[in-house]
Structures are given as structure tokens and as C-alpha cells.
């Protein structure tokens, strides 16, 4: 940077506030020593800063004691939020032990903690139950067809097959039930 290249005001403000890096700071310093125009501009900026500080010092106010009183009054009069207690539940000092206790309680109450105490149902029982259900419900997907049951029923009760074919599902079902009995 030579004297022909003047420093802009923004850079002078940054220099004044020590906000430039060491390299740029040194360049500006060297330029200001050689350039009257930039030095004059720099001094105007520095003077503005001094005026602001001086004006602020002159206008400085004491802290009114009424503010402290009003602060305490506001704090005393403020009602706690109705949901404030919910927030306290999430404090680690409360939430961690409470969560641990709840987890332990769930574990001891659940069947996982005492599997040997429960009633046992054997596989044979399930097979017998399944077979009985299939026999009783002719409309089940894999059970005997309805016509098979109707034929059996008509043969046993003496009702002709033609009548059995014309009967409603309700009559046929009663026949099926009789046949099973």
C-alpha cells in the first residue's frame, strides 16, 4: 500500500478498534505515518469515539434502588407455572432413580422373572382341541365339506337327500349338529 492508495474509512475504524490482523495493522500504521489525508480521517474517527465515551461518562446514572425492590417484588408475586412440577420430574436426580425403580418393578411383576410358576398346557391338548373344532365347524377351510355332513345327516335321520339339498343353512346345520351328536 503506497500513499496513492488511501485507506478506506471502514478499515480505519477496524484499525482504531484493533480488529485488524497484525500484518494489516502494521501496513495501516506505516501508511498513517506517511499520509496526512488518511491520518486526518483516522483522527476524526478517533475523536468521535472519544466524544461518545465522554458523553456517556457525563450522562452516567446511578442504579435506582427502586429497581432492586421491584425485581424482588416481581419474583415474590410470580405464581409458579401449573406444569412446573412436570419439569422437575425430568431432572436427572429424580428421573434416573425413578426410571430404575420402574424398570425393576416391571421386571419382577412380569412372567419373565418367574417362568416356572405358570400353568403348563401340553401340545397334545392343543391337537385335540384343534381336531374337535374342525369336526364341529363344517365351513372351516380345511374341514369336511358341508355336503359330506349333509349326506351323513340325512342317512342317519331318514330325511331324503333332495329335501336336505333344499333346506336352508339353518336346518342343515341342525342336522349336522345332530349327526355329530
Amino acid at each position: 500500500m503506497n500513499n496513492a492508495q488511501h485507506i478506506n474509512t471502514a478499515t480505519l475504524i477496524d484499525y482504531l478498534r484493533r480488529e485488524l490482523g497484525p500484518e494489516r495493522d502494521a501496513i495501516v500504521l506505516a501508511h498513517l505515518e506517511a499520509c496526512d489525508g488518511c491520518r486526518s480521517e483516522y483522527e476524526a474517527e478517533a475523536s468521535l469515539g472519544e466524544m461518545l465515551k465522554a458523553a456517556a461518562a457525563r450522562e452516567e446514572l446511578e442504579f435506582p434502588s427502586m429497581i432492586a425492590a421491584r425485581v424482588w417484588e416481581t419474583i415474590r408475586n410470580e405464581k409458579p407455572s401449573p406444569f412446573a412440577w412436570v419439569a422437575t420430574l425430568f431432572r436427572p436426580a429424580i428421573a434416573v432413580p425413578a426410571g430404575l425403580a420402574a424398570a425393576l418393578a416391571l421386571f419382577f411383576v412380569s412372567p419373565l422373572s418367574h417362568p416356572a410358576d405358570g400353568p403348563k398346557i401340553g401340545a397334545v391338548y392343543y391337537l385335540e382341541e384343534h381336531a374337535a373344532q374342525q369336526a364341529q365347524n363344517p365351513l372351516m377351510e380345511r374341514g369336511p365339506s358341508a355336503s359330506t355332513f349333509l349326506e351323513t345327516a340325512s342317512a342317519d335321520s331318514g330325511v331324503p337327500t333332495e329335501l336336505a339339498d333344499d333346506t336352508s343353512l339353518g336346518i342343515a346345520s341342525s342336522g349336522v349338529l345332530n349327526a355329530v351328536r
Binding site: 461518545l52 465522554a54 458523553a55 450522562e59 452516567e60 446514572l61 446511578e62 435506582p64 432492586a68
Partner: protein
């Protein structure tokens, strides 16, 4: 409570924390609020709200950091919220019932009335010029030139980038110089 950082180690110290904060930093906070708002009534309200916030959020203060920067950030946020609520402007100071304002024991008494008059004549153009800046420009000038914070600190207090701080300060200073020069120019 230390010189710069009040300690906050247990909940039982909450009230003591606030009391010490008001004693040590009440004056600086109130003056900062006054420079932002331009009048004592709003400065009192703003300072009061800031210390109530300090009391509520005392646990979020980081020991070892600057308490003033923390409360200035709180105050700046409150000021911004209030400006939004009032749509941009704080009221001018109007004495109620023409009653004398609360200056008793608050103004420095070191200057004589004549010196006071001369100084007020000198600083008046500057005060008027400051009042003509935008709220953001005034904040940045107060923090940079009066409170002497760095760009980084101002950015943290105001919640904006360093580039924004820099450009606001440059524009504000350019405007201030023009306004002060115009005000000091003798009228023909």
C-alpha cells in the same frame, strides 16, 4: 461472587446470586439500558425484566465467563422483543404531572451548574445524533464505542455475525459524523 463472574454453585445461592449481581452490575446494566432506550422509565423496566430473567436463568450462567456480556445479551433480547411489541419505537421521557424526576442522589454532583450547562451543550448534538440512529446501529455503537466490546463479543451479545456488526458500526459512525458536523455547523 467474583469481580467479573458471580459464582453459582448451589440452588440455595439463587437469591444471593441475584442480590450480588444487582449490587455489582446494576449500574452498568441500567446505563446500558438507558443508552439503548434513550429514557429512564423504559431503562428501569428493561433493567428490572433483565434481572428477573437473571434470577430465573441463574443456572445457565457459565462461571468463568463475563457476567456483563451475559446480562447485556439478555437485555438486548428483551429490548428487541419489546421493540417488536411496540412496533419499533420507545417512548420519549415525559415527566408525570410535571413532577421533578428521580434525580435525587443519582446524578453525579461533581460539576458546577455552569460546567454542567457547557458540557450539556457540547454533548447535545451527539445525543441527538445517537437518537437518530436505527435501534441496531445504536446498540452496536454503544457496545463498541462506549462499552468497548470486540466485534466477536458484540456479535455474541446481539446474536448476529461479525460481518453484520462491522457493517452496522461503519454505517452508524458515518451517519453520526454527518449528523454531528451538521449540528455543530453555525447557522447563518
Amino acid at each position: 461472587m467474583g469481580a467479573e463472574t458471580p459464582s453459582a454453585s448451589s440452588p440455595a445461592e439463587q437469591a444471593a446470586f441475584l442480590e450480588a449481581a444487582m449490587q455489582q452490575y446494576g449500574k452498568a446494566t441500567y446505563n446500558f439500558a438507558f443508552r439503548l432506550t434513550g429514557n429512564e422509565a423504559d431503562a428501569r423496566d428493561l433493567t428490572q425484566d433483565a434481572f428477573v430473567r437473571v434470577f430465573k436463568a441463574w443456572r445457565s450462567f457459565q462461571p468463568g465467563t463475563s457476567f456483563l456480556s451475559w446480562i447485556y445479551r439478555i437485555l438486548t433480547n428483551l429490548y428487541r422483543d419489546e421493540l417488536r411489541r411496540r412496533k419499533g419505537r420507545f417512548q420519549e421521557e415525559i415527566p408525570e404531572d410535571n413532577a421533578p424526576q428521580e434525580f435525587a442522589g443519582q446524578r453525579p454532583l461533581a460539576v458546577t451548574p455552569i460546567e454542567d450547562y457547557v458540557e450539556s451543550q457540547l454533548s447535545e448534538p451527539l445525543s441527538k445524533a445517537l437518537a437518530q440512529l436505527s435501534n441496531e446501529q445504536r446498540q452496536v455503537v454503544v457496545l463498541a464505542d462506549i462499552e468497548e466490546y470486540s466485534y466477536q463479543e458484540i456479535a455474541e451479545i446481539m446474536g448476529c455475525s461479525i460481518g453484520t456488526v462491522r457493517s452496522r458500526l461503519h454505517r452508524a459512525r458515518a451517519l453520526l459524523r454527518r449528523l454531528v458536523e451538521r449540528a455543530q455547523r453555525p447557522t447563518s
